[in-house]
Symmetry: C2
Subunit: 266 residues, 2 copies
Amino acid sequence: MNNRPIGVFDSGLGGLTVLKEIMKITPNENIVYFGDTARVPYGPRSKETIIKYTFQAIDFLISKNVKAIVIACNTATARALKEANEKYDIPILGVIEAGARTAVYTTKNKVVGIIGTDGTIRSKAYNAEISKLDPEIKIVDKSCPLFVPIVEEGWANTDIASLTAKRYLDDLMKEGIDSLVLGCTHYPLLKKTIGEIVGEKVTLVNPAKETAKDLKRILDENDMLRGDIGEEPKYEYYVSDIPEKFAAIAEEFLKKEIDDIKNVRI
Amino acid sequence: MNNRPIGVFDSGLGGLTVLKEIMKITPNENIVYFGDTARVPYGPRSKETIIKYTFQAIDFLISKNVKAIVIACNTATARALKEANEKYDIPILGVIEAGARTAVYTTKNKVVGIIGTDGTIRSKAYNAEISKLDPEIKIVDKSCPLFVPIVEEGWANTDIASLTAKRYLDDLMKEGIDSLVLGCTHYPLLKKTIGEIVGEKVTLVNPAKETAKDLKRILDENDMLRGDIGEEPKYEYYVSDIPEKFAAIAEEFLKKEIDDIKNVRI
């Protein structure tokens, strides 16, 4: 048994969907979440800056004695995961690899859709990972810049969300995708709306869920799981700035009440 | 007659709506536009960073021999206009003062609405400017984070835009506003959609237009207008990064073809 917490890091709030899956799949683990809300979004920043911010976040989590870290942010994973694994000794996972691998498993007709923010789509990180595993897969990608603000307004299940999803996904449907990677941590909150647009024949791949499964496997293999010791796990939340709507959005993401949010300067 | 160009600066593309009004109101002027597209958006950045970026942009425009500068960006105006005017000798105008002054003139019932990005609304810059002119005016403000991506997708006149505007503006209408400041440079592109929601009794105040009028007056008073010399004015566009959709969006903003876009490192 290993009491040390898991560290989860995101540029803001989106990583809470990953946190939620980790809580579900490894319900006994203590967790420290850090959201770099003062410097969100990372998308438009340079690779050097993103590496610097990511290392600062990792240093902060290590100061909290974490045993493993999940970079629950597509941009930081695409730009800084490799460098982080070269620098640090504890296991550090990103969200892209698990999502890509799952899409390769689920697709039958070898036509996979990827949606994400402008930055993630331009980075082609999912495309590269999928093509490495199966170069025959045809990838259709599309950036969906309205989805994040729609989720953050709490409008995920409105007519605005439906109409927007229809507009974004029409082209992907015409290409005949049978799997769709939700390549942004906010998007699992749109799962119901997106599912209604693409229909049951398209499998939605949630990288958050797959990453949580990977994490559990790695902890298990290294004998690092906390196990059920009859004591509730502890969840701590740190943010570099408390946005106005933080609590409301966070509770929408996690579907549970959040207390113990601390402000930290890194 | 003064052949030197006017400099127009924005963090990205939004300032093109201001540029459009300047072209209309002073059609003989040569203009140099600089969009800091590599570092957009300024909204989440610190005051110090925004001042640094703004000074860099001004230095660049001065190197192009401009006779006056318009900071066509609400964030940069709110955070750096005062500092810029303390540092530089040429006339430098922002977009907020003219918009606020016009709202004070147009309102009859003294209830004014302000819409803008999260950053602009949180800065309370329009509120402060309006209250300085008439402390009796009641201000109802609302951030509308979906409007910028809607405009940038080219969706300004869709059902998505209408439904979104209705949701954002309902509360302001209930408060009985008779004037509405479009406090973000992207919003004039939503004028038709917003106008349909708020109806004819609400005056839409476009700070871009008012700023262009101020610029003309200042140039006139200082004997700096170019005048009609029977020679087409020259328009030059510089950006710090060429975004994928730059040309398409820019032509949508300006309603004219754009050539001569140069990339510049500042």
